[in-house]
């Protein structure tokens, strides 16, 4: 018996060892930091090394089980299949709950180890000690989750020799399988700044030293989160086949929430670095970001939000809820006790100063986060009070977030020209002329192309305004610093802004000016829609053991055929439509095959979407990623404040 399930036993033993290492590591770090005892703190790295090794080990064992198709494990029975291609099979490990917690564990351990390596010379400091304690405590909890409610090493019923494989929707494109790890790199990365924020509160070391320590970690994690969310949008567009990138469903919202508070933090932290203000607010934003990742995981993994899947196989929900409650409670108590020490004496004199603009920006982000959170959890509130089901969907979010987004674009245009510390109205009227002209030009261009409607036109005008402002900033920076003018937080940040603006404009265009039509095609006949021609060449049916798929070969404008398809997974009872897209800089032609599917009839019903500017979403994403990298690269100029902190900190 022992031998027969060696894999499962090994996996569990590793998880237990990892938990113990992380737990005692956290304990040692906390004791050491509390007593300011460098000798105790010196043990911490050993615990970290063991815990990290155990996390890697557990993941490796799971991979090994998956690769060798060890169907004695319940998890392999659930997501494994002999017919899954090797790469998808590798990625299948994180395609369901238990494996995704394992992946979370692995990434978290990686972050903890990296943070320790990076702080290796300063481990004796209480601040770092407390931070390690917090990180290790979180790590220990995730080991516990993986050992307890989400254990992937459970032995399944005997006699199973093959499984269904991962969800068919996840097998369409390999990038999809790497969407979760990238998103997790973002989620989990927020643990590091959170740990330092809590450590600063615990250590009573409320100067801003920890901010500089964690700034790059935060920006990097934020970058991964951004990229992960964008990848999700791309997947939704290219694979799901409903022609949109974002549907405001709870799972998406759960990833957006920490992104919003994280973005707010990245902006408002500059006020603290520059002026020493907003300390409580910044700590709160970090706490909010981290607890929202946990809340999001709870909402999406426990099954509370999707009544259809109410019978969730795992009881991880309460565990995550407890974690959320503890994090929030501890943080609130700390802020309550130490908040007054954090208060700064300075003041913001004018709304029309840089710090004023950041404050307004943060208020907007707070409203944005509130709207998304409210819309996401409102069904739960109604259910708790009135025992009835309710859905809050896309139209709600669209109506409330569009005005917020437009205001943000406006702030984005104005803020970069504002000076620190003083009223910048005069500067605004000087330096915003060029951006404003760009905005007017963008508006005029949109009108010439035929756009209409207030919201999209405002998006174009404000997008031009903000874009002009960002480019103007970059142009000035390059004039002064040459190539270095692209590097550093402010300059890299402006490049990120350009990406964001492109995405906003592309979203406005594609959401407002999509044209669509269902067309019944007959072989040999040319159908026309929106200036394009569509000709059905053939309808092909393919069948394998799991599914039947029908693809319609459609030639667009007489060119090469595109093949939208529908795959019917008979065993799972699921229809999966796969679109086919012709992409260009100005607009996409997006084809989906619609039911009823009639084989051998020489007929097919397709739906055509003409969607403008979609490509610019992806271009904007890459510009954002590029700008994020540039923002992490240190710029040569450092503020006196920064240098002073480093000197004092030592």
């Amino acid at each position: 018996m022992l031998l027969a399930n060696a894999t499962a036993q090994l996996g569990r033993a590793i998880l237990l060892a990892g938990f113990l290492a992380a737990f005692f590591g956290a304990f040692a770090a906390a004791v050491g930091a509390r007593r300011n005892d460098a000798r105790t703190l010196r043990f911490v790295p050993q615990f970290v090394v063991v815990a990290t090794a155990m996390a890697i080990g557990a993941f490796a064992v799971m991979e090994w089980a998956m690769i060798t198709r060890d169907f004695s494990l319940a998890y392999v029975q659930k997501v494994g299949s002999r017919s899954t291609p090797a790469l998808y099979n590798f990625a299948a490990v994180w395609s369901a709950l238990e494996g995704s917690i394992l992946m979370w564990l692995l990434i978290l351990a990686g972050y903890v180890a990296a943070a320790m390596w990076w702080m290796r010379k300063r481990l004796a400091e209480p601040l770092v000690g407390w931070a390690m304690a917090v990180m290790l405590a979180v790590l220990a909890y995730f080991f516990l989750l993986s050992f307890g409610p989400a254990n992937p090493f459970v032995i399944g019923p005997p006699g199973v020799i093959d499984g269904p494989g991962p969800n068919p929707l996840l097998q369409n494109h390999i990038l999809v399988m790497f969407h979760p790890p990238i998103l997790y790199l973002g989620y989990v990365g927020m643990t590091v700044p959170f740990a330092f924020a809590i450590a600063a509160l615990l250590a009573g070391k409320v100067e801003d030293g920890w901010l500089h320590l964690t700034r790059r970690w935060t920006v990097a994690a934020w970058g991964f989160l951004t990229f992960g969310i964008a990848l999700g949008g791309w997947w939704s567009y290219e694979v799901l086949g409903w022609s949109g990138v974002w549907a405001w469903d709870p799972v998406e919202n759960a990833s957006l929430l920490p992104w919003i508070t994280g973005t707010a933090y990245i902006h408002s932290v500059m006020v603290q670095e520059r002026r020493g203000l907003l300390r409580v607010w910044n700590v709160s934003l970090l706490i909010a970001t981290f607890s929202l990742t946990i809340l999001g995981t709870f909402l999406t993994r426990s099954g509370v939000l999707n009544s259809v899947h109410a019978f969730s196989e795992s009881d991880i929900g309460p565990w995550l809820l407890v974690m959320f409650a503890v994090i929030v409670a501890v943080s609130l108590v700390l802020v309550f006790l130490r908040g007054d020490q954090l208060r700064a004496s300075g003041s913001i004199d004018s709304v029309f100063s840089r710090e004023g603009a950041f404050l307004v920006n943060n208020v907007l982000f707070a409203i944005f986060a509130f709207v998304v959170l409210l819309g996401t959890v409102f069904p739960l509130v109604v259910e708790a009070i009135q025992q009835r089901q309710l859905v809050v969907g896309e139209p709600f979010f669209d109506q409330l977030t569009i005005p917020i987004g437009l205001t943000m674009l406006f702030i984005m245009a104005v803020a970069p020209v504002l000076p620190w510390r003083r009223d910048g109205r005069e500067r605004m009227s000087q330096r915003l002329v060029v951006p404003a002209v760009v905005g007017v030009a963008a508006l005029a261009l949109a009108l010439i192309v035929g756009a209409s409607g207030l919201a999209p036109l405002m998006a174009f005008a404000l997008g031009g305004f903000a874009g002009g402002s960002a480019l103007q900033h970059l142009a000035r920076a390059v004039r002064v610093q040459q190539l270095r003018g692209f590097v550093g937080r402010a300059n890299g940040g402006m490049i990120v802004h350009v990406g964001v603006i492109l995405i906003c404009v592309a979203l406005a265009a594609s959401n407002s000016f999509t044209r669509s039509q269902e067309i019944d095609l007959v072989t040999g006949q040319v159908a026309r829609f929106a200036g394009h021609t569509f000709e059905l060449i053939d309808v092909v049916e393919e069948q394998d053991s799991r599914s039947t798929s029908v693809r319609a070969l459609v030639s667009v404008d007489g060119g090469k055929p595109y093949a939208p398809s529908i795959t019917k997974f008979t065993r799972i009872g699921m229809n999966v439509g796969t679109p086919s897209v012709r992409t260009s800089l100005t607009s996409d032609v997006y084809l989906t095959l619609e039911p009823p599917v009639r084989q051998d009839s020489g007929q097919a019903r397709i739906k055509v979407f003409i969607k403008p500017m979609i490509l610019w979403l992806w271009i904007g994403t890459f510009i954002m990623a590029f700008g994020t990298v540039l923002a992490i690269v240190p710029s040569r100029r450092r503020s006196v404040h920064e240098i002073r902190d480093e000197v004092v900190g030592r």
Binding site: S302, L321, G339, R343, V381
Partner: protein
């Protein structure tokens, strides 16, 4: 008190309330057979059977009518078929027996014919082009079983497979309440 402390306390109260809500909502809202149509006159149904016999629900007033929304590839539909057969047989032997109809959802006449040839069941199978009947009743997912009383009012909706004996029991309850 300092504004920070007031803020923290206020936030704590809000978050505590929020946690209570999260704990209360376990996601199991009882996907029970609720429908806005229960106790209301049934939607009008005019269609033909797969043997091209016309059918109109309004003409069946005076009988209990059982609609079973069905698809020959859906596993729970196949699973519930024996229970449905037994129920239909019992009902056929009563003077006030309910009339059972299958409403074909997203399936071809041929597949349905083949299924009933193989599994028996000689009640009428009604076509539902484009799922109009399913939408009129608010059918979420086949199989669903609906009971309409002799006055033409919707009385019961059962989601998913009918378990052996459930339909009989429900019919008895409904008949008793109708007699009052």
């Amino acid at each position: 008190m300092k504004p920070t402390k007031v803020g923290v306390l206020g936030l704590a109260v809000v978050i505590a309330a929020f946690l209570v809500v999260l704990v209360l909502s376990d996601g199991d809202a009882g996907v029970g057979a609720r429908s806005p149509l229960l106790g209301e006159p049934a939607p009008s149904v005019v269609t033909t059977s797969i043997d091209d016999v016309p059918f109109e629900l309004g003409r069946r007033k005076g009988s209990w009518v059982v609609f079973n929304f069905f698809n020959s590839t859906c596993v729970p539909c196949i699973a519930e078929h024996p229970s449905l057969l037994r129920f239909a047989e019992d009902e056929a032997n009563r003077s006030d027996g309910a009339e059972v109809y299958t409403i074909v959802n997203d399936d071809s006449d041929g597949a349905v014919r083949a299924f009933f040839a193989a599994n028996s069941g000689d009640w009428p199978k009604l076509r539902d082009a484009d799922g109009a009947i399913a939408v009129a009743f608010g059918v979420a997912k086949v199989p669903e079983t609906w009971i309409i009383d002799p006055n033409g009012f919707v009385r019961l909706r059962i989601l998913g497979s009918v378990v052996d004996g459930v339909l009989e029991e429900q019919m008895a309850d409904l008949r008793a309440s109708q007699g009052e």
